[in-house]
Symmetry: C2
Subunit: 204 residues, 2 copies
Amino acid sequence: MQKSTKRIATMHKMQVTGLEMFYKNGYYSTSVDDILKELNLSKGAFYYHFKSKEEFFISILQSLVVKKVYSMLIEPIEGHDNPIDLITNCLEDALQTAEHNEYDYGFVLQNFITEFNGSNPEIMKYLNDTLKIWEVNLVSTLQRGKFNGYVDRHIDCEGVASYIISSFLGIRTLMVEGSATALRYRYMQQIRFYLRAMANKQTA
Amino acid sequence: MQKSTKRIATMHKMQVTGLEMFYKNGYYSTSVDDILKELNLSKGAFYYHFKSKEEFFISILQSLVVKKVYSMLIEPIEGHDNPIDLITNCLEDALQTAEHNEYDYGFVLQNFITEFNGSNPEIMKYLNDTLKIWEVNLVSTLQRGKFNGYVDRHIDCEGVASYIISSFLGIRTLMVEGSATALRYRYMQQIRFYLRAMANKQTA
DNA sequence: GATAAAACAGACTAATGGGTTTGGTTTTTT
DNA sequence: AAAAAACCAAACCCATTAGTCTGTTTTATC
């Protein structure tokens, strides 16, 4: 009983290539035809599977982006180890991924937020919700860190979380054109410095 | 001899409205007709003054954006006062401007960098150059701060500068949808905390 | 106030892109 | 083998958009 297995495979292929091209060239600058040419598929194929370009894009957000945000930005910082180390390593990994021309999904979000802001409220909702998921998980990781004695009790977890996200999104913007390796190195030094100051001074 | 006074006035009006709409809806999502309708002007007028949409946009970068980056982000941090205070106040001002739905020009740059990255190298060059101007000036402000005894000698000025820019660009992304006031408040607390640690501990 | 140049209006063109339709082929089920 | 479901190709439709062309109005100059 694999009646929909091919359907799913085809849709998935379209979504993967779609995300790649939307991310690289922007949503509005990437035509459906562009994606189909890349895949040697036809318009008929596309509109058999998806109602519209917009619905197609939303399906990408739901089935690819959200999952990747979880696996790259959220799961690595779960658990009861020192959140400061967890977060530092997670950011380092994400930036290294970015450096090798793959996409780290925090920046994917930022790109699309910039593009759709003001022009498409429905898509913006999905994007903001996903970003919010990251933020919420950062906050609770920090709070858990307080509870477990790793993080200073006086720290404003919400403030730190949005500051981490901000700096990360920003450095990724700079990396698109600047010398990525040098920027990553410097950024990691600064964020380490910043996060180290959050540590609980009582406990080792 | 005011043969070009009207010409300049009209061009300027087009540029101001153009920047506003490009910034709000994106370059590719804003048609020349959209801008002209807003101004009650015609195609003939537009192409009388500008060779193309792209040239029009570049003229906006040159005549509006660069100047504003200077007056909002560079001039305020010049001088020989404590650069940590200068930078803090400058960022605060920029974020307050942003909160009142006007545009702070750091974010204008970021928006366009995101939009044109990968699709238009010529425009990217202008945008990156402008961002670079900001960065270079931040670095030299910090170095001057070292010289004048305000900033710790061990600080990596390049690292701090790109970290400041990063966090600023990032927080602006978050502000587009989140509660701007709360984000600004938190951000300023964090950046103050971060910058205070740069201060020279010897001198008061 | 005639004339020339500058500034502007608006219909038109060509190309692009989202989406539809038609007309098929392959795969699965019975 | 026959019917139905899943899948695919490409011509076609319609709205939009950057850019052109031809003319008209405004403005400066003598």
